[in-house]
Amino acid sequence: MKNKASILIHSLLIFLVILWLMPVYSSLIAAFKGLDEFALTPFYSIPQKFVFFQNVRDTYSEYRLHYHLFSSAIYAGAGSLLAIVFSSMAAYSLIRLKPKFNFLLFIIIYSGTIFPFQMYLIPLHKMFNALDLYNTRSGMILIYTAITIPFSLFVYRGFFTTIPKSIEDAAIIDGCGPISVFVKIFIPQAAAPTAVVALFQMSWIWNDLLFGLVLSRSEYVRPIMVGMAAMSGIGGGSRVYQMTGVLTTSIPTILLFIILKKYFISGMSSVASMK
């Protein structure tokens, strides 16, 4: 009885593993096939010639993904960097310096996580047009920074409460002001929350579709996922090109996950405790 159940569960698991890997396998292999070969052979057949780099060249020259890649790299880098700087500063102040109304200030910033993004799109579109930020890289950086600040603040705030007060008390007695306490004591210890924020926010910005779609128009400004989405749908590219796009544009986030893997779980627990 016990064995039968365990065989059943194991076969179910193996079935699920195949189900999970099959889409990955079929897309990987499509990116390595020529256009004709893809159309004429079943999905599982092994590619006859090695045309992957040819596919990359064709895909990128036809759909100009490198423009989008370049923009997205700027957005992911600058957006998370600004969010890291501003939210760590704010978290330190709210936790340690406790300005008046600090709880209210926290709630105001935190409220940025409560609403679905659809709630911001129309006024942002209007505002970006009025301020000449529509379809500009600086506009995209501003919105990505704003949208990533609340979560980052939450992570830093949670972490800073765990830093013992005794160290900074000693520093204060030695005559350190609040800024030098932040720079000399808090920043050097903040590697872990910074890694969490960098991992989650960079990959979030990299994977964003909605804001890119609504707030930009040209191939020089639109982020990578908007460029990719344009390849799907009616009049989109060949599936060989689509898969080449998927494969090459997923590399940055996959690498980020591999490098910062150990921070993934602590980031997920922050996500969990926010809800």
Binding site: A90, S93, F103, L105, I107, I108, I109, I122, M228
Partner: protein
């Protein structure tokens, strides 16, 4: 703070200011403006006309909105039924399994991909022309060419997209459940097994009740994410054919940015937000009371 001078007070505000400004200017103000816009009829050109709650009334008389709303409910119910329960069962099973890490990494793999990539990957699976699924079905049926249009017929298109969604989302819920499982002690589970309970009884009466806190988190998150679904549908069907697979977020986008019914679009986003706040309201309140105790 031992000394709290005027200068230190000033610094404490300066440090909060940039974060506060970003959130107020780009999130809070637009949110309020959005509620305001929803009371106007506007096409983006000319002067908006105040029409009170007519945009909201229109929504509940609009067959496209009603279809989109019911599609959204299908997404929500399916998400609770398949990825949430599925990830719980898999997490419980994998927890003490030898080689569980291998399985876990397979289920986590899609987490690193965007919804756009997920959509494109699954379009290749569901394509009616030389697609992966039709090829497999053709092989199983013994040479007969299967040509099912998974993405062009109702309700197959929504079901197909939900499969892609599950593939992407299962890992997220699983991580949270696995986290929850590490926090519960082993003693009660062992005790119940010694008392003669089988694995299923132990799970229902011992493990699951102890997982309640993380379960509420997973359910809330899954509810919110499924209500907000946009990317996957935008990439795979654009809400079509004939607006048949739209959800609220997609309808809001289409009404606003392709049909220029701007006031109506913002009313839809307000409705969507109201639903989401109703779901998360209790958790936000708990979070805030917990926080207030810290202060």
């Amino acid at each position: 703070m031992i000394h709290s001078t005027v200068k230190d007070k000033f610094i404490s505000y300066i440090l909060v200011l940039p974060a506060l400004l970003f959130v107020t200017v780009f999130l809070l103000y637009p949110m309020l403006d959005n509620v305001f816009i929803s009371f106007f009829k506007s096409s983006g050109l000319g002067k908006p006309e105040f029409i009170g709650v007519k945009n909201y009334i229109r929504a509940f008389q609009d067959s496209n909105f009603i279809l989109s709303f019911s599609n959204t409910l299908i997404w929500v119910i399916f998400t609770l039924a398949v990825p949430v329960i599925g990830s719980l069962l898999i997490a419980v099973f994998l927890k003490n399994l030898k080689g569980g890490t291998f399985y876990k990494s397979i289920f986590f793999l899609p987490l690193t991909l965007s919804f756009v990539s997920t959509g494109i990957i699954w379009m290749n699976v569901f394509s009616s022309n030389n697609g992966v699924l039709n090829t497999i079905l053709s092989l199983l049926s013994g040479g007969e060419k299967v040509k099912i249009s998974w993405l062009a017929s109702v309700p197959l298109n929504t079901v197909s997209m939900l499969v892609a969604w599950t593939w992407q989302q299962l890992g997220t819920s699983m991580v949270l459940f696995l986290m929850g499982l590490t926090t519960i002690p082993n003693d009660p589970i062992e005790a119940s097994i010694i008392d003669g309970a089988n694995k299923w009884q132990t799970f229902i009466h011992v493990t699951f009740p102890m997982l309640k806190p993380i379960t509420t988190v997973v359910i809330t998150q899954a509810l919110v994410n499924s209500f907000k679904t946009f990317d996957l549908i935008y990439v795979i069907t654009r809400g079509g054919p004939y607006r048949s697979s739209e959800t609220l977020a997609v309808t809001m986008y289409r009404e606003t940015f392709t049909m220029f019914n701007i006031g109506y679009g913002s009313a839809i986003s307000v409705i969507l937000s109201a639903i989401i706040i109703m779901i998360t309201g209790k958790y936000i309140k708990n979070q805030m009371t917990r926080d207030l105790l810290h202060y």
